[in-house]
Symmetry: C2
Subunit: 479 residues, 2 copies
Amino acid sequence: MLRITIDNADPDPAYQQVYRQLRKAILGGELSPGSRLPSSRLAARESAIARVTIVRAYEQLIAEGFIESQVGAGTFVAAQLPKIEEPAQKAYHPVLTTWGQRVISINHTGERGADSTRPEIDFGFGRSFAEKFPYDIWRRLLGRYLSTDDAMLSRYGSAAGYYPLRQAVADYLIRARGVRCTPDDVVIVSGAQQAIDILSRLLLNPGDEVVVETPGYRDAFALFRLHQAKLVGLPVDNQGLPVDRIPKNCRARLVFATPSHQFPKGGTMPLARRLALLAWAREHEAVVIEDDYDGDLRYEGGSLAALEGLDEDGRVVYLGTFSKVLFPALRLGYLVLPRALAVPFVQAKELVDRGAPTLTQAAVADFLAEGHFERHLRHLRHLYGEKRAALAAALDEYLGGRVRYSPVAAGLHVMLYANTHLDEARLVRDAAARGVRVYAGAPYHLERPAPPSILLGFSGLNEDEIAEGVYRLAAAWPD
Amino acid sequence: MLRITIDNADPDPAYQQVYRQLRKAILGGELSPGSRLPSSRLAARESAIARVTIVRAYEQLIAEGFIESQVGAGTFVAAQLPKIEEPAQKAYHPVLTTWGQRVISINHTGERGADSTRPEIDFGFGRSFAEKFPYDIWRRLLGRYLSTDDAMLSRYGSAAGYYPLRQAVADYLIRARGVRCTPDDVVIVSGAQQAIDILSRLLLNPGDEVVVETPGYRDAFALFRLHQAKLVGLPVDNQGLPVDRIPKNCRARLVFATPSHQFPKGGTMPLARRLALLAWAREHEAVVIEDDYDGDLRYEGGSLAALEGLDEDGRVVYLGTFSKVLFPALRLGYLVLPRALAVPFVQAKELVDRGAPTLTQAAVADFLAEGHFERHLRHLRHLYGEKRAALAAALDEYLGGRVRYSPVAAGLHVMLYANTHLDEARLVRDAAARGVRVYAGAPYHLERPAPPSILLGFSGLNEDEIAEGVYRLAAAWPD
């Protein structure tokens, strides 16, 4: 007879322990198919376990088909139990689609700086200044919905986003960014990645050309490549995408641009060029994705009005994010879509992801509508402005003459271009040996060979760390 | 000279108002290209606006290229300003990819019951019992991370999910669901939709067959169709997917099944059939997606162990969700992936969506790890059990003899099959006229004609509403 024991230290209920032991014995062959099990009364007595515990375990085994109860005859291990096979020799290896194979080949997780050693000073890009975030306000706003409005939590939200948030975003964009939109044009997404992915699925056929800036947003490059697009990379000057250099025979139906603040080089696209870009798009029946990833965070003068505001025939898709001003871990971004694209976009989002978490959206809606967002933004502009000044001073002092870069008019990073030959990978290693993590510029460039360059994000560091980091970087920099 | 005015009631800063008026005048042609603007001093005097305000507006217009400052000569409307074109006659209409066209044709947003009239009694499926959610605990857990660990918020999280949550999920699944996994096998997603979408992108080539249950999960049908899969629908019996009826010539590489509790018909797949399914998958080099959408919410006996726990060669992908036990608006689900699929899945997720919100993940991790989840689950089982009993009693009393259905052994819904001919659409309309919203069963069935059926979700209603709703449904039901 099988020995069944109860371990009081085991967090599982007793009946679960009995169930597990019997299940294992059946699968392991100790209890063979068709064999009779003792009655629950007998098993209880022999193992000194409460009968109700045995009964519950039996019931579960019956429900799962391991054992069968025959009225008047007793309980038996299921007779038609197929022979349990040995752990398979041929373990499954997936045969990936070509899409899956491209995922693997594009993967750059490793490069993103995921290695385990944590540097003393990390010029990582895209971190927010979370220690200054108004947590008290945020907690209050979240709490508001946690007790009163459970109907909001208990249903699936709209795939397009929580309506009051779409309203608050529209109000903000009209006021601050010169975007022309209604709440119905705004769609909430998990971030720019999701927006670009869904837009690509809707608009890019394999082999289609996409006009992009180089240097540019590498994650957008990756997504367009994932959709088998052919990237037409235009080297930017200090006014962003040089529209007049788009090849005459270019048949792109999609342009990805950062007109407010070119990523990652810096520079702003002037009006004439913006209008030229829109004219080009109109002529070529193309869509322009305007990635306004840090248009909020402009240090001097107001933020520039968005390209979207100049678009007269609905071919600009505006992308924005809360990651920079609130925090990246929030995972909320938004789009303003031309009406003709909004319907398919929302239907696609509904199918592939349903929607963003309602509670967070409700809290962000109030954060915007009650003025906390713009207040925090002003605060951040000031704080980041000081970091920016510290960076400029350190670059001037320690690397003056060895690098050139566009003034940091906005945002949280700078792209340094070496004035002389530079082995990027070696510099990154040498800096790491001095406790400083900096980022090679090559992955952001489509030109080959890429101009030697280094990306520094400064938002995660304080002013002393910035100065010390640049000092150490300079020490690693070849003469 | 242009009249510039400041409206004190306008929430925008004064310089923005000046900027806007000048910008409009330039784009509208009132200020023509090359024309000279008054000096800031003069403009300030003439308009009775502070000079600093005018200067800031000018600066912004210069930055955007609307005007130019020529040292010693003054400020001019940009000369190379292209002629502003008339609002385009040919507004943009997107040319969608075939994927986008399938999105439009598959769309069933409308059917989901999005119409504006709110019925008195809504037998909507998939709502949670949010009023009983322990909000105090949830608030405390969220608050824990809102002040102390800002490093968590300020960085992008891992695409695979927040590690302590993956750990807590693994612990729970091993203990409660018989899944065999480590935290590394667990990936956090926004829900089952995202999981199925990414798996389809990784594994389904156009034209591939997919074995599904009918009736079944319509959103999975939609996603597989979006990937141009050919659905092989097997009519389920009261033991789930009839594995022995998979056509001999079926070449499916993917099976989508709900072995713990067949959706939406009910019934549990017994052991013999589970083992047969795994053997079939092994023989056909197929992957089985086990959607355990409500395996937690079983009313009698323990929850059944997952199919995944029987899988010896890593070809089962287990899907779970927090929507039913916590709340749908949370937008968090999880997968347990065979090791060989975990790497491409996480890399794909990183590219198309980055990751789930860290703060929410941290709170859910603690909710699980500290036992609140299982405590709440027991509470819910009790509460839903009472609703279930009310539903069974009402169906018996008012619709007995006219419908048949599997006992509600788990979950939050029942699929009623009419014993005689039934015009579903008409019944849904007639019930609506009586203030009751019920859902046609046809979209869940692949058989044509679909057996006449009605889906009732009971989680969003109290016991009186359930009784009253079934009473009114019966009144609408044709004899």
